[in-house]
């Protein structure tokens, strides 16, 4: 009898300890995670040039890179960068020469994104951008890098999770570069991975 009692008592002791009382919790079990997304697509410059408007090419590829912290509710915070060719232009100066100019931008924005309904998100962001201006022809090539301190983005995106880690979708966004007061909009296909 004693041979049975002691092991049973030991078993009783061991089993009781790992059983915690269930805590009531007002939050969902944490779904905190991070995601890294890349987008690629078409970017269109809303041509507001006053010089060389007709000569500007305004449709180029655009690429974006986003890193988000996605807590368990609707809001996410993130950083966005990318590369956009705003416009290109070849302008005749006289019969003998012409100049070629391009303006590109690398934004660095702090974003807030909100899930509106399932899979549909709206986002807004503000931050810095590096503007890259290149002029060639007319005897010389000149590269200028300008820091733009006033830049914004507003976007709407549809993101569909393929599985626990991979997400695909599309995004439509407006970007404003304050230094040159230029607007572009971009339609991109996105692919994200949950980290």
């Amino acid at each position: 009898m004693i041979k049975h009692i002691v092991p049973l008592l030991l078993l009783l002791f061991l089993l009781n300890n790992p059983l915690p009382a269930q805590k009531s919790d007002t939050t969902r079990r944490s779904l905190n995670h991070y995601s890294l997304a890349i987008g690629f697509g078409w970017a269109h410059y809303i041509n507001s040039l006053e010089i060389g408007k007709a000569e500007a090419t305004i449709d180029h590829p655009g690429i974006s890179l986003k890193f988000y912290w996605e807590p368990e509710h609707r809001l996410s915070l993130g950083l966005e960068s990318g590369y956009y060719r705003i416009f290109g232009m070849t302008r005749e100066i006289d019969n003998e020469q012409s100049g070629k100019v391009t303006l590109s931008a690398i934004p660095l924005l702090l974003n807030v994104r909100m899930r509106i309904v399932d899979h549909f998100y709206l986002s807004a962001g503000a931050g810095l951008a590096l503007m890259l201006n290149r002029v060639s022809g007319i005897n010389q090539t000149i590269n200028s890098t300008i820091l733009s301190l006033s830049n914004y983005q507003f976007s709407a995106s549809y993101l569909y999770p393929l599985n626990r880690y991979w997400i695909i979708g599309g995004e439509f966004k407006f970007l404003n570069f304050g230094k040159t007061d230029d607007w572009i909009y971009s339609l991109q296909a996105c692919c994200a991975i949950r980290l």
Binding site: A56, Y152, K179
Partner: protein, 414 residues
């Protein structure tokens, strides 16, 4: 998408709400009466110079104004920043004045017109005789509305002997005013140099920069930006570009080309009566070797034409001071120094130009006068301060974005 324009407008509202860089100048149109008159000669317009009492129209211009003729027009200015720019003509011994008024510190503007009846000074003015009585009767309006609000100005007295004997310089900043002052022409342009005398200026300050191939030109900011230029393909530091590139790709906001320094100064000599030019050396690199020869040529041309014109190379900081001191015979170069009076003496500058926030500094100004130097203060814009500097200070000139306010306080001085 119907919502896209609305969204875009909302975004534009967030990101760029203050797009009004221009303020339209009201005009009476090609059929206005002034086009049917004979232009009033300059000597007749000069007879109108004086201090006037405002009989009607005090709600706009207070109790007193000055009328001052210039090379092409008449300026009427009050104490608070309101001014009129008027063309003058005559028909049958009646003098007609037509143009517009503007509140310089804001955006209020409108049409304005006056007439001077035969018996109220018109006949004398047309015949070139100082009138015994001189009354300007007219009206002003808002925007392009007809000038129906009554205004009547009665000649009170001429400018005092002190004022007529003084050689006070009313210096216009950036050749006339800033882009943000919403004048009809861009800052630092030949067009502005042609306009500035209408505002009461007798001298100008211009900002000098250097293209990458060494051509001095006038432009304030270090970079090509949407504040000063029409949106074009170039961006970044303006001194990165050659003169040819700037000429091809850059236009200022009212469509003007950036002028070279030499072209701007030649225009001052040939087409204006301006008497003082301050070259504010903004160039990133040593520019004296390029600028001083231009200064010398212009001074020679002005002398040959009998023009009363002084052109000073400006010294805004120690780097420019050191650059000037490397120039041969630098003490003979007409210069204007913004630094201390000791620095003024070190380079033998002809003008000392302290910042206005240091006060009237009457003792130091007196010292400069004793050494046969001039003293001007910059850049003073608030009307109460302009009044105090003129009434209590001893400066030989004030640099301002509101030359008509300086004109009012200077010309009303007893």
């Amino acid at each position: 998408m119907k919502t896209r324009p609305l969204v875009f407008l909302l975004l534009l509202a967030l990101c760029g709400c203050n797009k009004d860089r221009e303020l339209a100048v009201p005009t009476a149109g090609p059929n206005s009466l002034i086009n049917e008159t004979y232009p009033l000669p300059a000597f007749s317009r000069a007879l109108m110079d004086g201090v006037y009492t405002v009989v009607n129209g005090n709600q706009l211009v207070g109790d007193q104004v000055i009328v001052k003729s210039n090379r092409t027009h008449l300026l009427i200015a009050d104490a608070t920043g309101n001014y009129f720019i008027l063309q003058a003509g005559y028909l049958d011994s009646v003098v007609f004045l037509q143009g517009y008024w503007r509140y310089g510190y804001g955006d209020d503007t409108g049409l304005a017109s006056f007439y001077i009846a035969r018996s109220e000074g018109g006949t004398e003015l047309v015949t070139g005789v100082q009138p015994q009585t001189l009354i300007l009767r007219g009206g002003y309006g808002k925007g392009s509305e007809s000038p129906v609000s009554e205004i009547t100005l009665q000649y009170q007295r001429p400018f005092s002997q002190t004022v007529r004997n003084s050689n006070f310089y009313i210096l216009a900043h950036r050749s006339g005013g800033r882009t943000s002052d919403r004048l009809p022409v861009s800052e630092n342009t030949i067009e502005m140099i042609g306009f500035t005398e209408k505002l009461g200026s007798t001298g100008i300050e211009v900002d000098v920069r250097l293209s990458s191939d060494g051509i001095p030109f006038i432009y304030h900011d270090p970079d090509i930006n949407i504040r000063l230029t029409q949106k074009g393909p170039l961006a970044g530091p303006i001194e990165n570009y050659t003169w040819e590139q700037l000429s091809a790709f850059v236009r200022l906001i009212h469509g003007e080309k950036i002028p070279t320094l030499e072209a701007a100064l030649n225009y001052v000599v040939d087409s204006t009566l301006l008497r003082f030019v301050y070259l504010d050396m903004k160039a990133n690199r040593d520019a004296m070797a390029m600028v001083i020869p231009i200064q010398q040529r212009i001074l020679q041309r002005a002398h040959d034409k009998g023009r009363d014109l002084r052109v000073f190379v400006g010294i805004p900081g120690t780097e420019v001071l050191e650059d000037l001191m490397t120039y041969p015979d630098y003490q003979l170069i007409p210069s204007l120094c913004e630094l201390s009076v000791d620095d003024v003496r070190a380079v033998n500058a002809q003008v000392w130009a302290p910042r206005w926030t240091l006060g009237t500094q009457n003792d130091l100004v007196r010292q400069m006068h004793d050494e046969n130097r001039l003293a001007v203060s910059w850049t003073i814009d608030a009307a109460p301060w302009i009044r105090d500097f003129i009434n209590e200070g001893s400066f030989d000139g004030l640099l301002t974005n509101f030359p008509y306010v300086v004109a009012y306080y200077h010309y009303t001085k007893e």
